[in-house]
Symmetry: C2
Subunit: 596 residues, 2 copies
């Protein structure tokens, strides 16, 4: 059975030493988030994930969800009780608005906790995670009446949320959607259509399910511009939140799929179900994007989370499994063989994961902090800067952390040899579960296009320039720090490759947009590597300060070695990305469709 220990110490290092959260005491909710409180909340969250959620992960995979003849869905044994515990602990509304019952704590903290939940049980944790996204969308776009009815129930966890975008003939290209909304006399709408791939669309964890649904109001223009967002609850609530009659929405079937078996992926049938407009008519995509951007960071965290739990188990196995002898002579001569962690190729796999996970966690928590600033700062310039950061790094976190997270889960499985392929050890479940984050909330190819086609050119490239400025500021600030040199040198090479790739796009992609499309995925990974490398440089600096300050030596030195490994072994990939980008679209686009 897999083990899991939430990386509380690592998160505290990030919040206290690297990001120095105490500098942000002026933001609402931050003054309360003292180091002691952060520690207490993280430890409580860790305990819940380790003791309640993780032990249900394999049962969830084996039993999956069952759709009953009446259209209801039964989740695996123990999930309902675990959800009650989760909701009762206030975890759904950790960072939500206190006005509606949330705890108002930093999103930076909530993001770290969400990693724990995804590591422990992805299929379970998707339920509250989707709810959190729906809460944000409603909080930002819905009328006060809707907010008053829905938010307290969702923040308490009594009701969960979903996103309903995809239809059978349209996933990425939502302009094609056919679900229609017909206005009724009372100001509500009758929603009719079929949505597919709706995660947590039906289940038995909560008393109500709040569907956020994209649909086209009768007579609205075709294409993406004619789309509106509606809230369509499973049970129609009174204004005070009491449950009324069943609404015209039901789960038609659930998908048989590769992983996340304990989260029902539903076909949802809307048969004239009652919905209310969220935000303005025909501005549905804007409102949905609020939810989607938060969800995309959440999905990126899922990639990290599965990499982390897969890593922890692979490391434990590598310390125990005896096989062969070290190349440099027996390390456990009293045993029939050495533990496989002595072998460089096993180390290589473990270090790849460790070096990625720690930097990815830093990138997530940093970006979540920027999200806090973007939502909560008083100063507009400060908010805008953080919004730029969020806009630029959201597709990177989603695309890179899930691509690498999956690759890492596969690498951790490899440490187990044949034992990794059989179900018993749980490693193959991590791989199957880690596959979906690369796809949902916009495939990673879409993330790359969003980055290159939208986020880079936006506002004359302001966001990327600010990123370069921040990295270059760090170089300037630390140029005389000899101990930081290996980190700065590695980061510099990646940074320069990123600059060259950006210049190549500027010179070649304006006139021939296929050149941008052809390099998009490589560019996303290149920016991701530089961002992760920047995290390592900042962590190395904080670790050295901590060492000077009498921190725990072994822990800090492990941090410093791991950062060096990143620069030695992972950062060199930037050159291959640059070479690919610079080769352009010619050989990629030359063939006729029939030649494939």
């Amino acid at each position: 059975m897999p083990v899991y220990k939430a990386p509380v110490e690592d998160v505290l290092f990030l919040l206290n030493d690297v990001l120095q959260l105490e500098r942000y005491g002026n933001l609402p909710g931050f003054a309360e988030a003292t180091p002691d409180l952060l520690k207490a909340v993280l430890e409580e969250g860790a305990k819940l994930c380790e003791e309640v959620l993780q032990p249900l992960n394999r049962i969830g995979d084996q039993q999956g969800c069952t759709r009953n003849p009446d259209g209801s869905v039964t989740t695996p044994e123990g999930f309902k009780e675990a959800y009650e515990t989760f909701a009762a602990g206030g975890w759904v509304g950790l960072a939500a608005d206190p006005e509606y019952g949330g705890q108002g704590l930093p999103f930076a903290l909530a993001a770290a906790i969400s990693e724990f939940t995804f590591s422990a049980n992805l299929a379970f944790a998707m339920h509250p995670s989707l709810t959190q996204g729906a809460i944000t969308a409603l909080a930002m776009h819905a009328s006060d009446e809707i907010k008053r009815t829905y938010l307290p129930k969702m923040i308490s966890g009594a009701w969960t949320g979903t996103m309903n975008l995809t239809e059978a003939h349209c996933g990425t290209d939502l302009g094609l959607l056919r679900t229609k909304a017909v206005p009724k006399d009372d100001g509500s709408y009758a929603i009719t259509g079929t949505k597919i791939f709706i995660s947590a669309g039906e289940h038995d964890l909560a008393e109500n399910i709040v569907h956020l649904v994209l649909a086209r109001i009768e007579g609205a223009p075709e294409g993406i511009k004619g789309i509106s967002l509606f809230v369509v609850p499973k049970f129609l609530p009174g204004k005070d939140g009491t449950l009324g009659p069943r609404n015209g929405v039901s789960c038609g079937s659930i998908e048989e799929k590769m992983g996340i078996h304990a989260n029902a992926t539903c076909v949802m049938n809307y048969d004239g179900g009652t919905g209310w407009l969220v935000g303005e008519a025909e501005k549905g995509m804007r409102a949905m994007f609020t939810m989607m951007n938060e969800a995309r960071i959440g999905v990126g965290i899922q990639g990290l989370a599965l990499s982390e739990i897969a890593y922890q188990n692979a490391a434990a196995y590598a310390r125990e499994r005896l096989q062969g002898r070290a190349l440099t002579g027996a390390k456990a001569p009293d045993k029939p063989a050495d533990p496989i962690i002595v072998h460089p190729d096993v180390r290589r796999m473990l270090m790849n994961l460790k070096a990625f996970n720690e930097a990815a966690r830093a990138l997530v928590v940093w970006t979540a902090l920027e999200g806090d600033i973007a939502m909560r700062a008083e100063d507009e310039a400060e908010r805008q800067k953080s919004e730029d950061h969020l806009g630029l790094l959201t597709p990177v976190i989603k695309g890179v952390l899930t691509d690498v997270g999956f690759r890492n889960a596969v690498e951790a499985q490899q440490v187990y040899g044949g034992h990794g392929y059989i179900a018993e050890h749980g490693m193959e479940q991590f791989v199957r579960d880690a596959r979906i984050p690369m796809i949902y909330e916009g495939t990673n190819g879409i993330q790359a296009l969003d980055l290159v086609g939208r986020k880079l050119p936006k506002d004359g490239g302001r966001a990327l320039m600010a990123f370069f400025k921040e990295v270059d500021g760090f170089f300037a600030e630390n140029k005389d720090d000899e101990a930081l040199k290996p980190y700065l040198d590695g980061l510099k090479r990646g940074r320069d490759d990123l600059e060259k790739a950006t210049q190549w796009f500027m010179a070649n992609a304006m006139a021939a947009p296929d050149n941008a499309g052809a390099g998009a995925t490589d560019y996303m990974h290149l920016l991701g590597l530089v961002a992760l490398g920047f995290m390592w440089a900042r962590m190395a600096k904080a670790a050295q300060a901590k060492l000077a300050d009498g921190g725990e030596k072994a822990w800090i030195e492990a941090k410093l070695v791991t950062g060096r490994y990143f620069m030695d072994r992972i950062m060199p990939e930037t050159a291959a990305h640059l070479a690919r980008i610079s080769s352009g679209a010619d050989s990629m686009m030359a063939l006729d469709a029939e030649a494939f």
Copy 2:
């Protein structure tokens, strides 16, 4: 439902135009292998794979194998009939010795056909593939008596074969094995022990199952040197091959696993079962390696095979699925959206697969031809040169083709978006099935160590020097061919990185073996890229000759573009491998085991 069309035309191009098989008419079995015969056999094999084996692939995954209370195993619906058809067609013994009923055709042809079978139905095709490996091991090491009893039955497919190496506490490190063999008066042995992860260890496809089992004769030395190989049949045969009583070997259980559900992965219990020594006592590893080397190439082909069928389906889906518009303007303005094959990022994924598959197939067929020469040539120098090639490239084919084959299956799944994650389309099965070739027959980490630790230094580096000589000879021969320049330039950069990496090992790994271990996987992939790039250069040359000769223009030009894509987008990875190798083992090995 997935589609499959065996790449017959591509194989014929390789056999006739690239390798020019007619040059080898002096080898036994080659004179018969005229272009017409090759075409007829390939087309017949293609038909069997497309029409009989592939349609059973998904059923096999869904039903899996069932172990019955009496220890027998039932394969999925239709497998038994398909196996009868397969055996009756003479496919098991296609390249086997005519003296025992084989057809004696080139292994180069049999290897190409085996790709078709693995694409169509990996779990099914493992049965005859394991049999072929066992046939080779018995043919090379067993007594004439054993050969006369077993080979005709195995070559006809009436009996299947297995490899029994792994025990619960030892996979890679076979020196630890505990299965014991006690000599009996009649010259046979009583075999006792438990083996795990035995593919096709029990099934209902054939009337008998021939287990090749590693065990230690009572009193033999500990460790790898005390191991012998035994043949242990499920039913004891008379000398004429009639079936006698059940032997003391049975399937104790079958594993629940990630994929290849239609091939039972068995725990095999040997309870004093009767076995006969194969080859000399305590020389079991040598005999087993004969089988394992052939099996490793077979497993490498599995990686290619899954990449190929996944590619074909992704390409078909990309041509049909309508979503979004081309960056350069609508390509199908009469439709609601363009087919997704217009998008560069979709092309990128398809071209990655296409450029790999075609080169990997060339590398397989070339290496299989070298295997034919090594087995069949009269001239010893010629045989030795081919054996060197086989030794050097076997771990590369196994490690690189399965690593990349898996990555490609994942990339093909990605083309489907959310539809790739649900079981219906079959893409997720390809991913689950493609995962095992990276593990079995020696994990890919072991392949890399075999390459760097054994194959490189062997005979003073003779094999690698011969490889360089062949590549450099190609450069010299074609240096004035302007049309080949893009291919030669790309190959040259990879070749130079390979040379630098080799020199780095020579300078740094002798004294510090961890430096070799730390770079082994990267070196294997670097050599793989150069070998694949060499294949592209040779294919480009053959394609241009064919074009000049009036061959089909569109097909040849697609070949030439695909080779350019390989040089543009895939070959640049060699630089990252070199950078990693040159960083050595320091940051990889610095941490204590407890720091993970």
